[in-house]
Each structure stands twice: as structure tokens, then as C-alpha cells.
Amino acid sequence: MSAAIDRLITAKAGGPLAPVADDAAFLRRIHLDLVGNIPTSVQTRTFLRDKSAGKRSRVIDQLLASKNFAEHWTDRLSVMLLERQQLSQVPDDEWRAYLKKSLQDQPRWNVLIGEMIAATGKGESRAAMRFLGKGNHHRLTEDISRLFLGRDLECARCHDHPSVDDWTQAHYWGLYAYLNQTRLATHSGEKRSYFVENLATKKVEFQSVFFDDQEDTGPRLPGGKEIPIPTFDEHQGFEKPAADGLPAVPKFRPRERLARDLASGRNNLFVRNSINRFWKLMMGRGFWMPLDQAHSENPPSHPELLDLLERQFVAHQFDIKWLLRQIAFSASYQRSSRLPPGETEVEPESYRVAHLKGLTPEQLLHSILRATGNEEVRAQESTGEEKFDHRGYFTGTNTGLPTAYADIRTIFVETFGQPSGVPEDDFAPGLNKALFLMNDRLVLHWLQPRKHNLASRLAQMKSPDAIAKELYCAVLSRLPEEDEQQELSTYLEAHPDRRRAGLSDLIWALLTSTEFRLNH
């Protein structure tokens, strides 16, 4: 499959391709993509020393099998699916534990999404109900369409889409009809909420704001057949009677049908959208962009490759790791982000050069902690006393330093992430982000020598060459070039009276460099 990827990318390249990235760049990239963190200084040095064949493949497989894979992809999928909304039905740690468990071994994307759409809150996968949030039918219709079918149907609620002919109002309401019976109900004994479905008795009616004709539809996927709403004799429509404050369970449960029919190999909108999203996460750009504009006037850049991936992903039972592995093994993925000689600009859809990807807030935090040798922060738990005032941290009324990892993570997400309910964006530098990395007390605190952190390790080294090697391996995951070594020793010589501060400056400069801030 990887060879097929390369063949089909190369066939449409339309110009010279960048060479394969060097070992250091590859190692950093694959670590960030698969486990969400830069490699350690030791890992980098070991990998660079390793001269054996197949070392890249071995790293890919090791990372895919590691615990950190599930941890990192829990972040990525959680952000993709919930878009940083605080949905309170299910506590955060239960939701993460659920995703993490699903991501171990052989994670199957259709099963995971099916569970989330069908979620009732019962049984082992109760946490899956978090995706449905409060069960607002319009919000769900729009999110499911956008996230799983690649169609931003919001406009189609009131009329056929104004600029996309493929998207009709009937598509919107067909999806809506799967969901409009769903609501939350509270179990009287357990005092817990469950998603239940009312008995559907009629189609959903809708009317364009432009025309007077009344239309109706039963549950229907775009391009699929409408599901007839069964009729029952009185009281015959239920499988189980009402109990404990929960209503009777109807025999016809359209949301359950949606889970089955949508997250299915027979639904090519779902399969192609899924591939496009994973491809984008790895390659930095989807076959079509924006991700939620899948329609005939915005065709994929590599239709044949997409078709092939579609067939193979289904054949491999939506195995996420399989898909990521095929991409990671390809030369297209492993290409350098440096321009081919003589080129100044390449078309982004050609994949001739590796795309630069911004680090997510989580990747950035974890990488800063690893680079500066402060990884123990990740184990720090909340003391459970007073809640840390994040707002006050930004406005200056809270002059304390957060210690709990969860609070630190929140500060990074607030600074570097998108607001709640907005999809993850591409790399977006900003004034506030620059100000944060320049002046944040916590970040500067991590650059002070403490225990065995980087600043402390560097302070104990005598030779500028050794310092340069350790600094560059730890922060930028590569060995320094000669001019970089030279710059470092000049800098240290120029500031003999403040050697420790000078070392902090050097770490800071690399941490805030574009090279660190990007997955390149």
C-alpha cells in the first residue's frame, strides 16, 4: 500500500520531489505524529548512531505498539470529535479512558464511531455517550454530517445549500430524522442520565424558507434510501416497558440504525471522510480542503489514491493503526520539508515537499517539558485544595504558579488551542502566543536549573561542543551544525558573568524557534 501511495503521488507531482528527510527529521516527525512528543535526547542519539537497515520501519512499529500511541491519539481524536467542548454527561477521565482503551491493540474506527452514535450510556462503553453531548438534535445533525461525512450542512437546515449543489435540505432533515427521537432521561434510582429514544410515529416535516412547499422525510443518509417508519398497533411499538424513570424502549430506534448504516463500509462518504481526516493529520493536508467541504466542486487532489485507500481501509476493517502505518511507511510521508533545489514554491496539493504542521497545544506542552527536562510535571496531580484560577493567571490577579499537570495543560490549551466548539486549526501564530512563550513565568521557570533538567545538565558541562550537542539533541532532536556550535560558544564567551542565564537564553531561543514550534 505504501508503494501505491508513492506511485500515485509521484504520478501527479508535476515537478521535482524533495528528497527523503534525514534520520533526525524523520525521527522527530514520526514521534510527534504517533506519540505526540519529540524523541528524547538519548533516543535521538541512539537512532542517529544506528546504521542498520530497516531502522525507520522498526521505530514506526514500536511507536504504534506503545502505550503513548493510545495516549496521544486520545488527545487527537478527542479534539477532532469534541472540539474542546466541556460536555459534562461523562467526566473527562472516563471519556479518555474509553478512547485509550479503544486505541490499544487493533482500533477499529467504524466500531468506535458506531458506539458513539448509538450510545445510550448503558454498559461498558457508557463514556461513548459524551459525544452526543446534551443531545441537541440540530447540533448533532450538523456535527455528525461535518465530522463523519465531510459536509458542513448547517446552511441546509433552512434551504438547499446556496453554493454547493450536491447538498440539499433533504440531506439535512434525513439525518435529523435519525436523531430527533433522542433525548436524555434520568434513571430514578441511579440518578444518572441515559440517552433514550422516543417512538417515532411520523416523518420529519420541513420547508424551505424560499418556497412554500412542505416536504417530509424519514431517516435517510445522503445518497441512501429512506427508511420507512414502521407503524404499530397501540402499545405494540415497544420492546420493553417504562421503568425507573426511563421510558419504554421502542422497537424502532433510528439512532441505532444510523450508527450501523453511517459508520459502515457501504457508506463511502464516511469511509472517504475518515481517510481524509487521518491523511490530513499525518500529511498536513487533506485530499480535499477544507475537511468539511466534500462535494463535487471541491474534488480530491488524488482520486485514484483515495479510491484505493477506501477499498483497503474497508478491507482492513477500519483498522486505524493499519492506515497510519501505510502512510508512515511511504516515502511521501518521509519526504523532507526542505524545498527541492532550485524551487521556491510548490503547490501544496502536490505533496512534493513535506507540509509543515503546527504542534497542537498538547504536543507543544509535552515537547517543551521533554526538551527542558521537566517531564516529571506530567505526573503532578492536583492537590485537591483550592481550584487554580486560570483566568486570573492570564489577567494578573493570580500570581501563583500552577503545579498540577491538568492546570498547566489548561493554560496551554487556552493559549495555543482553538476556542470551545471550533475545529482544530492549522498552524496559526499569534501575538498572544508569542507573548506567552516570551514572558510566561512558568515557561521561564522550566528554564532555570533544577534537579536533572536540561539547564542543570548543561550547567555541569564544560566544553561548548558538548553543550551544543546536548542542547540541540534535547530541544531540536538533531545534532548541531558547525555554525550553530560556533554561535553557541561565541554567545557563552560573550556573557562570561552570567553563564547560567546564558544557557537559559540558548534553550529559550531554540524552544521559541520555528523549527521547534513546527512538526517539519
Binding site: Q293, R338, L356, M438, N439, A509
Partner: protein, 427 residues
């Protein structure tokens, strides 16, 4: 910092071109891509600034600009004469009535959206023809179209109650760099202050190291992401160097008194300081104007809170000779219903409402448009928000018929294609 509109040795030309050259020497791409050949018209445009005062939720036109005394749906307040003969405002606007001859009122706004959630973005984006993209809000649009008035300052500053930070979402398809620097309760974000542990020299030294590292990384790539990243640091450093413009201790107690101690008073005074310092576009946001209930008790208490500082701002800009270059817009996403509901409130009314404009090519003392007898619908043709955007762009020296945004290879109109400027309100 002298205002670009002031005269003498610190003339706008001086200040502007000097800063500009500094920016160029630094290889600046500034805030957005601003560096174009400096021709006279361009320079003139550089002086234009905007203050948008946004009363979120909808101020009642009956209790402010269009009281319609004696009519069926008029509220209980008195109408008072203004400095424009024959024109009355509500008694809740005594200060503004005094300076009415310096401003213009449009009483025939007729827009399309009666909901906040859609109406606020729709109005602040100018409700252009839907082209499947997220249009920028006015502040981001002006930041893009005119760039910063002072290259050292962010072009778009948003003063709002609650939290601040850098808010990108208003930039729409223009991208995050055209977002707003938001001052929560008028205060600069804490990260604008360099911790004491870093000296100015140390900061300079570490920044040089960072810039060199970026140059090395860029040398093989030439990517716009890298430039944008470098720009964000330059913006950050420039802003830090000018952080005195956010300093509360520099505010004159007399001014504080004249503008009022309520949030709008403090925030509009802050806006004046920022305009004087050379910020291109300042938005001042006030929330909780959505008086579905108790409209009359609330209007009685809320409207004086905009009256006092709005009139003070117009007076001050006028006195400083800035009013010819600073456009002031005071508006909401719609007006309020003529009909009074069961809780003595007024609901949302986009069908006929009023707003105030002043300065920068806006006529002084013009009252434009009218409603029918009872203030229900516009008498004649109303103005849509697209017309207002055409007007705003026109007085800022941007031709909305010719100027386009470039986005993914498309040319996109900056304002609704089928609207046009409101000539009656323009000089």
C-alpha cells in the same frame, strides 16, 4: 505618542513615515502586508481610524435616537431638543443631544436577522452575499484593508468586559493574524509584561539568537508559516515596547469624571487613548442590552451609560482635530420592537432601527431616513447593513466596488455586491 492627526513637528507625515521606514529597515512585513508604495492617497488613508461601539443585544431606538413622542409605541420618556433644530432625542441622551450637530443618525436601518446568535456575526460581517466563506468582522476587515495606522501597534484592539487575550475568530477567512487583541475590562493581557528576571539586554540577546535560528530554518524552506511566526514575535515585542498606552495610572482624573466610572465610561476613555496612540480600529463592547424585560427601567439606567462617554469622546476627538479622521460608529445588531411585551420589554426588531455615526467623512448633524408614523417600518427604502459597510469603507478611502479580498485564488467582494454607500450621510 502624538496622534497622527496632530500638527507641528510631530506631524502625521513625520511620525508615520519614520515608523514606516523603521519597519522597512527591519525587513518588516508589519501587521498584515502593508508595505506598498507610499503615495499621497495612501498616506491620507493611513490617518483614518475607527471606533466601533457595540451595544450587544440591541439598544432601543425609541428610548434613544428615534423617540417618536406621542406615537402609539413611544416609550414613557420625554423627548428633548438637540443641537440640531427640530430634532429630538430621548431624554436619556442629554449629553449627546448637546453635541448632535457633530454626529449623524440613521433612522432607517432595515436589516434581515432577528436573532442574536446569527445576527451579531451577520451584522458585524456586513452580511455580504454568501460565498461559502466566513467573512471577517469589521475590525478584522479594516485591519486587513488598511493595516495598522502605526506599524508598532496591532491594528485591531477590542475592549470588552470579562476576559481578554488574542481573539482570532473574528478574522474569518483572513486568518488569525487579523484577529483582535482583546483587552479584558480594558486591561492589557498579563503576558505583555516581561518578568523582572529577564533584563532588557538579556531579552535583546535571546531574541537575536531566536531570529538567527529562524533564518537558518527558513533558508531551505521559504514558507509563509515561518514569516507569520516571526511576525508574531515582532508584533509581540513592538507591543511590549508600547505598553504604556494601556497604563491606567496615566489617565487624567478629569477625563475619568467626564466619561463616567461605569464600564462603558472607562472603556470608551481607553478607546480614545488607543486612538490617540495610533491604533487603527478599536471596538468597545458592552453586553446586556437585550432588554426583553423591564426595557424602560433598564433603558433608564443603561442609556445614560453610553450617552455620557459617547458625547465626551466626540467632543474630545473634535477638540483634538481628530474627528475628521476618526470614524465613530455606535450601534447594535438590531433595534427593539415597537410593541411592548408582557414583561414591559421590547423584543428584537431588525425592520426599522437607528444608529449613530460621526467623523471621518460623515456629515455633521445629518438625520437620515425616517420611519412610518409609529416607528414600525421604514418610510421609503431602508438601509441594510451592506449599505452601512459600503459607507464605512468609502469614508475610510477604500472603494468597496473595486477593492476585493483575495482568498484561495478567488476575488471576494468586501461588502455586499448589491448595496451601496449611504450618500446622505456622507460629506
Amino acid at each position: 505618542m502624538p496622534h497622527p492627526g496632530s500638527t507641528s513637528c510631530q506631524s502625521p507625515f513625520h511620525a508615520l513615515s519614520r515608523r514606516r521606514v523603521l519597519g522597512l529597515l527591519g525587513g518588516s512585513i508589519g501587521f498584515g502586508s502593508l508595505v506598498q508604495p507610499a503615495i499621497a492617497r495612501e498616506i491620507a488613508k493611513k490617518n483614518k481610524q475607527v471606533c466601533l461601539i457595540w451595544l450587544d443585544g440591541g439598544i432601543s431606538q425609541f428610548e434613544s435616537w428615534h423617540p417618536l413622542p406621542g406615537s402609539q409605541f413611544a416609550g414613557p420618556f420625554r423627548s428633548i431638543p438637540t443641537s440640531i433644530p427640530g430634532i429630538h432625542f430621548s431624554e436619556l441622551l442629554p449629553h449627546t443631544a448637546r453635541i448632535a450637530h457633530k454626529i449623524s443618525i440613521i433612522r432607517s436601518m432595515c436589516t434581515k436577522d432577528p436573532n442574536h446568535s446569527t445576527g451579531v456575526p451577520r451584522i458585524q460581517r456586513g452580511d455580504p452575499i454568501d460565498r461559502g466563506v466566513d467573512y471577517p468582522y469589521l475590525g478584522s476587515a479594516v485591519a486587513k484593508l488598511l493595516g495598522p495606522a502605526d506599524p508598532e501597534l496591532p491594528p485591531y484592539v477590542w475592549i470588552k468586559p470579562g476576559n481578554g487575550g488574542f481573539i482570532a475568530r473574528e478574522a474569518g477567512f483572513l486568518g488569525a493574524e487579523y484577529g483582535a487583541l482583546a483587552l479584558g475590562d480594558g486591561k492589557a493581557p498579563i503576558h505583555i509584561h516581561r518578568p523582572e528576571s529577564i533584563s532588557a539586554q538579556q531579552d535583546e540577546a535571546r531574541q537575536i539568537l531566536r531570529e538567527r535560528a529562524n533564518q537558518r530554518f527558513k533558508s531551505y524552506r521559504g514558507s509563509s508559516e515561518i514569516d507569520a511566526y516571526e511576525t508574531s514575535y515582532r508584533m509581540a515585542r513592538q507591543l511590549m515596547a508600547r505598553k504604556d498606552i494601556f497604563d491606567d495610572t496615566r489617565i487624567d482624573p478629569g477625563d475619568r469624571e467626564r466619561y463616567g466610572s461605569h464600564p462603558l465610561g472607562r472603556h470608551i476613555l481607553r478607546a480614545r487613548h488607543l486612538l490617540e496612540s495610533g491604533v487603527r480600529f478599536v471596538k468597545v463592547n458592552s453586553y446586556h442590552w437585550d432588554t426583553h424585560s423591564d426595557n424602560f427601567n433598564m433603558s433608564q439606567r443603561l442609556i445614560p451609560q453610553i450617552d455620557q462617554p459617547f458625547a465626551a469622546l466626540i467632543d474630545d476627538l473634535d477638540e483634538r482635530g481628530m474627528l475628521d479622521d476618526v470614524l465613530v460608529v455606535l450601534m447594535s445588531e438590531f433595534g427593539r420592537t415597537p410593541i411592548i411585551n408582557s414583561r414591559l420589554g421590547r423584543d428584537h426588531w431588525p425592520d426599522c432601527w437607528s444608529l449613530a455615526l460621526a467623523g471621518c467623512g460623515i456629515r455633521r448633524g445629518a438625520i437620515v431616513g425616517n420611519s412610518d408614523r409609529d416607528g414600525v417600518f421604514v418610510d421609503g427604502t431602508g438601509y441594510d447593513i451592506g449599505d452601512l459597510f459600503h459607507t464605512i469603507f468609502s469614508v475610510l478611502g477604500i472603494d468597496p466596488r473595486r477593492k476585493k479580498y483575495g482568498h484561495k485564488g478567488q476575488k471576494l467582494a468586501i461588502a455586499h455586491d448589491e448595496c451601496g454607500p449611504i450618500r446622505e450621510v456622507m460629506t
